[in-house]
Symmetry: C2
Subunit: 201 residues, 2 copies
């Protein structure tokens, strides 16, 4: 099954740094970087001003990038109580902005993303950053880590074939075969040193 | 110090039921109900559609009610892990809608609200509902509890003199004297059976 090319914008939500990264590609084909960056807000600003700034940043990205889908990190209340409320609030803004435009929104857990990009659901940030750099054939690792994480979310979503609900995700996982994880992506290439065009399928 | 009359919209955030309630008044003067209700979204809808519906509901309320300030329940990650993410996301939408219009947003904790309305920070929902009904001279208790809680938030905020930051709140608390809690509000009236106009100051 050859899925259409998809432009996906990933959002690693946060109040202080909201990572944004857009890629284009399809499962089993080269991925291209579209844009990467962060929206920052100051910790001493009021929460309302911070959310308004994040909304403005995401809106301007959506206007420019025109993604087919938006992938947002799924936040769990269990993780890091200190920052989880801000993360949940920033994620709500991202989901709202995308949904208002009628864009499909996918939520992926950090371990789903890590597993898709590195082959291990418990990979560390550096490993994710290294794989993002390699998969997008970048000269250096996107910084800060939030920006790299946003790209990882977008890549994960492209590899899942743009599925945005559980049923579709299950079908995509069943259909997409070896191209759904970076480990498989580089399978049989010896050292995973780079990417050469159009060889995966 | 006689503070100006204030119209406050309270938001008890939630995805399934987002309580909304607006009151008008000033510390030490009769309070009037402006509007009370809930925005509901279905649990089987996607999160994006739910947040868009909540945004539309709050926007339509803000257009109609034209509040001077918005009071939103402050959510803590510690409380009820099962629903806290949805609560945080709904609160983000409420804060965003108000802040986009330049309205001051106040966050009050549930115990601050309970203490202001009932005299006890650990009062139950029924006690809060009873006091809201009494303070607004309503014929029956607003239902569901989320609607009554939204009114309680708005009342709490009026009684704090519309302060929306910590410094202003501290000043308001210091200045507003006996009218800041319902216990004091009804002080010296024997049974707190009702409210008679213009006797508090």
């Amino acid at each position: 099954m050859r899925l259409p090319e998809l432009r996906v914008m990933g959002v690693d939500p946060g109040l202080t740094r909201c990572g944004l990264g857009a890629v284009e590609g399809r499962p089993g084909a080269p991925l291209n970087l579209v844009k990467v960056g962060v929206v920052r807000t100051a910790a001493d600003e009021e929460i309302g001003a911070r959310l308004v700034a994040i909304e403005a940043g995401i809106e301007s990205w959506l206007d420019e990038v025109r993604p087919d889908a938006v992938a947002v990190e799924r936040v769990f209340a269990q993780n890091n109580l200190r920052t989880v409320m801000g993360t949940a609030q920033a994620s709500a803004v991202a989901i709202l902005c995308a949904s208002r435009r009628g864009l499909p929104v996918a939520l992926h857990t950090p371990s789903e993303v890590k597993a898709a990009i590195t082959g291990s659901g418990t990979a560390d940030k550096r490993q994710v950053g290294t794989m993002v750099t390699r998969l997008l054939r970048l000269e250096e690792m996107p910084k800060p880590a939030d920006a790299a994480d946003a790209l990882a979310l977008a890549i994960c979503h492209v590899w899942r074939g743009g599925a945005h609900n559980r049923l579709a995700e299950a079908v995509a996982r069943a259909n997409s075969g070896p191209a759904t994880s970076a480990a498989a992506y580089f399978r049989g290439r010896g050292r995973a040193a780079g990417y050469s065009r159009g060889t995966t399928k």
